[in-house]
Amino acid sequence: MKDVLTSPLAWLALSVLSYEIGLLANRRLKTPVANPLLIAMVLMCALLVATGTSTETYNTGGAFISMFLTPATVALAIPIYRQLGTLKKHLLPILLGAFVGSLASMGSVFVLCKLFGLDSSVIASLLPKSVTTPIGVEVARSLGGVPSITAIAIIVTGLFGAVCLPGFLKKLGVNHPVTTGIAIGTSSHAVGTSRAIELGETEGAMSGLAIGVAGLITALVASVVAIFL
């Protein structure tokens, strides 16, 4: 039994299984709160704690999964390219919206963290929390943050955005699909976008484009900030 649970393949298989359970629950429950990754994470945490397995042992298998994050990020160029027409048509609102929004995100994170007296490694981990995970995790690492805090913060941001932002934006009086889409994509990346797609085709496309632009802008701004740190 012990040998089986220290095998990298066992943890690979269990990871896939827990994610499949998450996908199944998501399809059945039809609510953004039943996020497949969140469900898989809770299941795997429980399993690791219950079997007394360290994350170090888990990562003998888990590292193979993480390795594919880089090609997955590179693949993000595909949806941007597919939406090239939409991107050209609304270039200015997308660029300016994502740029100002990303600055507001990092600025407000910094100010609120200071206000709440959070320590600097937590601040660096939370700064890129509105962008897509592969970019955010790399940005956090370059700023001296803890990648796993960033990964969780990004998921919580996405979930909150998916559940609350459509209603919040409507309350603010926003009823233009372009505005709604860019706002959701800039503030809550792919998880928010999955909800924006349900609102409408324009909202979904705009939100998807904003993910890439906001990610790029955040990485650029962080690299400038890193020089001054």
């Binding site: 994610y19 996020n35 693949a75 160029a77 300016l96 507001a104 995100s105 609350c164 233009h176």
Partner: protein
């Protein structure tokens, strides 16, 4: 064989991104540079969608799964952030609302300016301009 070739192209782009990252002293993440490189090569027709599409879609469709190990790292850092859990959650919720509001405000202003400057020839389609005016009234 087709899928292997597509994977090889994506992996090569990852390596190229890492190389570029080293060249700019690691200030920009290699994955972002790899993504930009793929976009440029697609835009200039050096790489065709059909060269990478299926493998890329596999990664895109299952993107969230690849973050599972990173998320499980929470088990190692939880003791460190346990005492700061409430302020961290407050920061996440408040800043998400602020970001969405500021982005929406910016886009709203840009669309308004574009609609005013060139109501007909603007890049914004007619019906979009119309609904924008309806929003404003």
């Amino acid at each position: 064989m087709k899928y292997l070739r597509q994977l090889a192209i994506l992996f090569a782009l990852c390596v190229a991104g890492d190389l570029l990252s080293v060249l700019c002293a690691g200030k920009l993440p290699g994955n972002v540079l790899g993504m930009s490189l793929l976009f440029i090569l697609l835009a200039f027709g050096v790489i065709k969608l059909s060269h990478v599409e299926e493998a890329a879609d596999f990664f895109l469709k299952n993107m969230a799964f690849f973050f599972l190990p990173a998320c499980l790292g929470i088990l190692d850092v939880f003791p460190q952030i346990k005492s700061q859990l409430v302020p961290i959650l407050a920061v996440i919720i408040l800043t998400t609302l602020i970001t969405a509001a500021v982005t929406a405000g910016t886009v709203h202003l840009v669309l308004k300016m574009q609609a005013r400057r060139a109501p007909v020839e603007t890049a914004v389609p007619a019906e979009t301009v119309h609904s924008e005016e309806a929003t404003l009234s």
